[in-house]
């Protein structure tokens, strides 16, 4: 039993699972929340799904040693492209969706190419594309439609796939999120590509020398994260039958907090999809579940801040636990850490 607990603790997601348990217990014990109501509530699940689809590729990038914050502008870019093409110009919804995804591919390519061709940190590059894309989306919207908010009506099949409310409350994007997490989890932990990602995050030069196509992998990751962000935008536009140029900026910090709480090492080389998934749920419960407690909503950011710190500290200790783990404990621990 102790061994089982310890082997869970050595995993990257240990901190996020404990954070989740801690937050739920806190809400029940001190906030008077009802566990059943909390679990049954749609609000945090919807929130988590929208955030989670962005957090997963952001987490992958972080594992590989990069960061992408341009997602904040790509969510409205995705919804506006869909709305302008379909709602304003009256093109089929398929064209709108394809157009939005193409915007994602284009910005992802720019992010990726700039990252591998220059020595500028990807944080700065994606900060530049974030700001630039905000300008592009606003200008294009005003120039083409004269407004900053465009309505659209999606046909039934598109509503069913991207904008349905299951049971009248749960957005269909939840299913997309779970499927996406399952696929990426498989790729990261079970295939060789996952191993390449961890190697890139550990030491990019050695990874390249070992024959890993680090440049192509980096570009692919940036494209994946940009496309995921526009996908969230598409789903929102179809669900709400309209799109605005603003919004999306919260996703940047929310995604990074979810990923870090989920046990991904900010400097790369360590993390798991389960961790990112649980980290996102934890974040969503703190920010949305607080409505089901007697705690004032205004406290939620304080809780998130404290939780982030506690989770990072826990992750640190669990990582050391993993580093100095010896299966049969025949010998004292070697204490010559490399540079964890």
């Amino acid at each position: 039993m102790m061994d089982a607990i310890k082997s869970v603790l050595r995993r990257p997601e240990a901190g996020s699972i404990l954070s989740l348990i801690g937050v739920v217990l806190f809400f029940i014990l001190f906030g008077g929340a009802n566990l059943g109501t909390l679990v049954g509530a749609a609000s945090w699940v919807n929130f988590a799904a929208n955030l989670g689809i962005v957090a997963i590729p952001v987490g992958l990038l972080m594992i590989s040693g990069e960061l992408d914050i341009s997602i904040g502008a790509l969510i409205p870019a995705g919804s506006m492209t869909t709305a302008i093409l379909t709602g304003y110009y009256g093109l089929p919804i398929g064209v709108g969706i394809a157009g939005a995804l193409a915007v994602g591919v284009a910005v992802g390519l720019v992010n990726g190419l700039l990252t591998i061709r220059t020595s500028v940190p990807s944080l700065i590059i994606t900060l530049a594309t974030l700001v630039a894309m905000q300008g592009v989306v606003l200008s294009a919207s005003v120039l083409l439609t004269g407004t900053a908010s465009v309505a659209l009506t999606a046909p039934d099949w598109a509503k069913f796939l991207f904008g349905q409310l299951i049971g009248g409350s749960h957005q269909v994007i939840i299913i997309w999120w779970i499927a996406f997490a399952a696929i990426i989890g498989f790729v990261l932990h079970k295939t060789r590509y996952g191993n390449w990602l961890f190697a890139m995050g550990g030491d990019r030069v050695s990874a390249r020398n070992a024959g890993i196509p680090t440049d192509r992998m980096t570009i692919a990751l940036f494209v994946l994260s940009a496309v995921s962000a526009t996908f969230v935008g598409i789903c929102q536009a179809i669900l709400f039958n309209s799109a605005q140029v603003s919004g999306g900026m919260n996703f940047i910090f929310n995604a990074i907090v979810s990923v870090v709480v989920g046990g991904v090492l900010l400097t790369g080389g360590f993390g798991s999809v389960v961790g990112i998934f649980v980290g996102t749920i934890t974040f969503a419960i703190v920010s949305q579940g607080i409505y089901f407690t007697q705690i004032d909503r205004n406290w939620s950011n304080l809780i998130i801040g404290v939780m982030l710190l506690v989770a990072v500290l826990m992750n640190q200790s669990f990582r050391d636990l993993a580093l100095y783990f010896r299966p049969r404990g025949k010998r004292s621990l070697p204490r010559e850490p490399a540079n964890p």
């Binding site: 191993n195 550990g202 964890p340």
Partner: protein, 281 residues
Amino acid sequence: MNDKPAILELRNVNKSFGPIDVLHDISLRVRAGEVLCLLGDNGAGKSTLIKTLAGVHKPTSGQILMDGQPVTFAGPREAQGQGIATVHQFGGTFPLMSIGRSFFVGVEPTKGWGPFKIYDRKRANEIAVKAVRDFGITRIDDGDRLVGGLSGGERQSLAIARAVYFGARVLILDEPTAALGVKQASHVLRIVNEAKRRGLAVVFITHQVMHAMAVGDHFAVLIRGAIAADFRKGEKSREEITDLMAGGETMADLEAQVEGYMETHEGHPPSPQVVQGPAAP
């Protein structure tokens, strides 16, 4: 002694970076089952020489020969493909990866088919653990342990075992013992001897003369990018080698000059400006 043909040979290799000449007319050869120790102080050009051997730099002039045939490497991967493996000071470069995973980075064994080809963790772990145990590091028994949790010597040994497993014929060890304690260093030296016994050509870079003398068959001392001395085992004492590495001849000249000055100046030492060593090239 050993008259096998050289696996790797440098002939009159020069390397300049723009106007700065780093390597001057380097000629070296390493044979199978032989350890060539490259000695030199910091800044003597050791790193540039290693990088030239490993395909990172191309020589400005001169030739690199493998098995007597001239070769040019487009990059480190090509050198690796020819069997030249470099192991750096900190060995395992992926501290947060498991032994099995880091052993097979880039060449992961898989099982299954099509899109469901999965990384074969069990096999990777088995092979990695066996490879390193064959080198006498028996304390590594679980391929799931993280590389960062191994001791410095174990990490070096793992990296050397990995290079040998993937068919290295020439092993370039860049200061493998520099960051290690006495006991850990002796592990690494044992591994070097084992690699030599298996018929690898080893280029062992170090500035620790004792470590060099423990495993070396052939020594080359590098000073300011040129080979200042080239000798075989037993031809020079430790003191002579240390002296050479510190720019020994310059030192001796300086001493002679100082002594001469003192003789003619009633035993007063000269002011530093008066004494000038041989001008640097």
